[in-house]
């Protein structure tokens, strides 16, 4: 210890003398301006009297009991004027030292904690102004036709879409994956305002859900009676043909808010069957304009495949060589957007597959009233419809919270031999898992760039099964313009298409075999063997 102090002292001396020797040769004015350092009577040692944010007192940000308010000095430490702490003690030569030490105490400013999500409000229920949706969803004219089929009429208004319009500033440096896009092109602030208007709240984990609304899959008659006698009301009911059972959209009693209503619901019904009517996000992805006038040539998957996403611009020439069947689950007609169009195009490629015809079934759960856009209720209906189309693989490039009813529906569809492939999520490398990618049995896909480096924002975890190119992927938007799209959303369809190509119909055993084959083919990245970053490794999208 002694030796350490002596060495430190000598170093300190050297560092002090070095600038001083420079000053000896500097003009006087410069010496004055320099502001020098110590040896001017300043209180050495003491260090920051005003707590700096390094002081990590517990507390801050949340809930904030502690700190703030400026009174930071608290325990004797720091704070202006105060120095001294260790007063009396010896060591210090010249005296004044080190007292005060700095930090801490007080914690840093931010406390307050006022921010919390949540919302005020409300009083329950009368909401849904905008009326929800579609009830039933089956309207969409075109229904199930195929044949070239863009059922969606709506295509023509794609020009009005905000989030497909190109990003203002564009052309950013090469390694900048471009602007973030949220559903509807909203900023975080705009989203908060619109959410308040649309009666969208945040659950305990900060995920969005429709205030006062819950979904339930397969409630027993007794449970339902108990719920209704306790003030819960059935807003919509859907008989599910393939998932099996009945999906209910419930509204809680007016006097019960968010969590209290959910607690009450869970006390009366099986907690594995009920949950908030969460809203999933499709579009936390990055896109930017590209100079390319056309996407690179690639064969279609030559498969039957389903996707749950935004609507797809089925009238684009890019889709002429495949059959697209589209249906809306939150509106009367699908609404084409960049996200779904890009994902569908990654499956469709640019030319017919030699392996056979390609049929892509699109379930749009986002078009329609904003307040129910991407709802769990719509997602389960979409899943049921896609399963009824007998597609062996369903791609879900969405992410959101764990939701018991959604989990149950996915488990049922998987048990019938359908393979669910989902994006691992773009929440960050140490973010909590997002779903459906993290559900057991779902194939979670992460994204890498052209040099096989992991996408900076990709989620990591044991639920990551495969990697595929998902950074600056040439994709088309709803107007047919070529863009570089980035996110795990664009890696998932590569894996989904590869699996679908091996499977003609839903079949658990065949699906397992196809997955094993893909694992064997995967190029191991990162630490040897399967890992939480790349899963089994990289699968190429080349056909």
């Amino acid at each position: 210890m002694q030796a350490r102090i002596i060495i430190a002292y000598l170093l300190m001396l050297a560092m002090t003398l070095a600038p001083a020797s420079v000053l000896l040769h500097a003009p006087l004015s410069a010496q004055d301006a320099d502001g020098g350092d110590d040896d001017d009577g300043d209180d050495d040692d003491g260090e920051e009297d005003i707590d700096d944010p390094d002081d990590e007192d517990p507390g801050d940000d949340v809930g904030g009991d502690d700190d703030v308010g400026g009174n930071d000095d608290v325990d004797g430490g720091d704070d202006v004027g105060g120095d001294d702490f260790d007063a009396g003690s010896d060591d210090d030569v010249g005296g004044d030292d080190d007292a005060g030490s700095d930090d801490d105490a007080g914690g840093d400013d931010d406390a307050g904690g006022d921010d919390d999500a949540g919302g005020d409000d409300d009083a329950g229920g009368d909401d849904d102004a905008g009326g929800d949706d579609d009830a039933g969803g089956d309207d969409d004219a075109g229904g199930d036709d195929d044949a070239g089929g863009d059922d969606d009429a709506g295509n023509d208004d794609i020009n009005e879409e905000r989030d497909d319009s190109d990003d203002a500033g564009d052309d950013d440096p090469v390694d900048d994956p471009g602007n973030w896009e949220l559903v509807g092109g909203e900023s975080e602030t705009a989203r908060a305002e619109l959410d308040a208007r649309d009666r969208i709240e945040r659950d305990d984990d900060g995920f969005r859900y429709r205030r006062g609304e819950f979904i339930a899959l397969d409630l027993s008659r007794e449970d339902l009676e108990e719920l209704t006698s306790n003030g819960f009301e059935v807003i919509a009911s859907e008989q599910l043909a393939t998932v099996d059972g009945t999906l209910l959209l419930l509204r809680g009693p007016r006097q019960l808010r968010g969590e209290a209503a959910l607690d009450s619901l869970e006390a009366m019904a099986d907690p594995d069957s009920v949950g908030y009517n969460h809203l999933f996000d499709s579009s936390s992805v990055q896109t930017k304009r590209t100079r390319a006038s056309a996407p690179p040539e690639r064969q279609a998957c030559g498969c039957n495949i389903g996707l749950i996403d935004t609507g797809v611009a089925t009238n684009l020439a890019y889709f002429k060589h495949v059959t697209l069947v589209q249906r809306a689950f939150n509106a009367k007609t699908p609404l084409p957007k960049l996200h779904g169009t890009a994902v569908a195009h990654l499956m469709a490629g640019t030319k017919r597959s030699r392996a056979g015809a390609t049929r892509i079934f699109v379930a749009d759960i986002f078009g329609g009233p904003r307040e129910t856009s991407g709802s769990s209720f719509a997602l389960i209906k979409a899943l049921d419809w896609l399963a009824a189309q007998n597609v062996p693989v369903i791609n879900i490039s969405l992410s959101g919270p764990r939701n018991p009813a959604v989990a149950k529906a996915i488990a049922r569809v998987s048990a019938k031999g359908h393979t669910i492939v989902a994006a691992a999520g773009n929440d960050g490398p140490a973010a909590p898992p997002v779903f459906p990618g993290a559900y057991q049995g779902v194939i979670g896909v992460t994204a890498v760039d052209g040099a096989n480096r992991i996408y900076r924002y990709a989620n990591r975890g044991t639920y990551v099964d495969f990697s595929a190119r998902g950074v600056a992927v040439p994709a088309i938007d709803a107007k047919g313009a070529v863009r570089d799209a980035t996110g795990t959303s664009f890696a998932a369809p590569i894996i989904a298409a590869r699996l679908a190509r091996e499977l003609r119909a839903p079949d658990s055993a065949a699906a397992q075999k196809a997955i094993r084959t893909l694992e064997a083919e995967a190029r191991d990245l990162g630490p040897p063997g399967r890992d939480t970053i790349y899963g089994a490794g990289l699968i190429s999208g080349d056909n």
Partner: protein, 218 residues
């Protein structure tokens, strides 16, 4: 020649200084949230969820360079070369060191006279180790800095950051204050980026982290 190339290829890449992007957010076990507001060259402007922003070097061993607290404010100048620590080699002889002085100027309010203090920092790295924190298990490189009083050369404080190159941030920070006889340790609970790093989700994570650290303490 080929052998040399093979050896070079087998060596792990040196660990470079973290590079942050606006929106990157880190939630720690004490409920603290560090969120990148913007970057200004080599400096990064951070803020918690509701407090004032503060500026620091992306080299996290350098103490905060500019901050406000209540009516008070502080700035710091650095003399020496704290960046000499980077890049950090991972191999056997990877330990690196850096030393610098931090000259701190604080004001209790805008009108108050500035108060200065100086301290000496001596930092060094050691070898990669596995750390398990609430956010997961990471290989991290411990970076330790000792802070000395500039007049007495007394050891005032030691800070350790366990920096996970995979994540681009430290996953654990331990501060030992020798004057007060206190040790404080915080661990990373989650790191969110992009639109997911919104206030609602960060608040929820911070609240849970804080609640569970209270539970552990109780």
């Amino acid at each position: 020649m080929f052998a040399l190339i093979a050896v070079a290829a087998a060596l792990p890449a040196p660990i470079t200084m973290p590079a942050y992007k606006p929106g990157d957010a880190f939630v720690f076990s004490d409920g603290r949230v560090e969120r990148v507001i913007r970057t200004e060259g080599e400096q990064v402007v951070w803020a918690g969820l509701s407090g004032a922003s503060y500026k620091r070097s992306r080299n996290f061993i350098v103490p905060v360079l500019e901050w406000r607290s209540g009516r008070g404010s502080g700035t710091r100048q650095v003399r020496g070369n704290p960046d000499a620590l980077w890049p950090i080699s991972v191999g056997k002889n990877g330990g690196k060191s850096a030393r610098f002085r931090a000259i701190t100027e604080t004001r209790a309010n805008a009108q108050a006279a500035a108060k200065r203090s100086v301290s000496l920092w001596m930092c060094s790295t050691s070898r990669l180790k596995q750390f398990t924190v609430p956010a997961g298990t990471y290989s991290a490189i411990p970076v330790k800095c000792d802070r000395y009083s500039s007049t007495t050369m007394r050891l005032i404080e030691q800070r350790e950051w366990d920096y996970a190159p995979d994540l681009g941030h430290y996953i654990r920070r331990v501060t030992v204050n020798y004057l007060r006889g206190t040790t404080r340790k915080v661990e990373l609970v989650a790191a969110l980026s992009g639109p997911a790093a919104n206030k609602a989700r960060l608040t929820a994570l911070a609240r849970k982290a804080k609640a569970s650290s209270r539970t552990i303490r109780n």
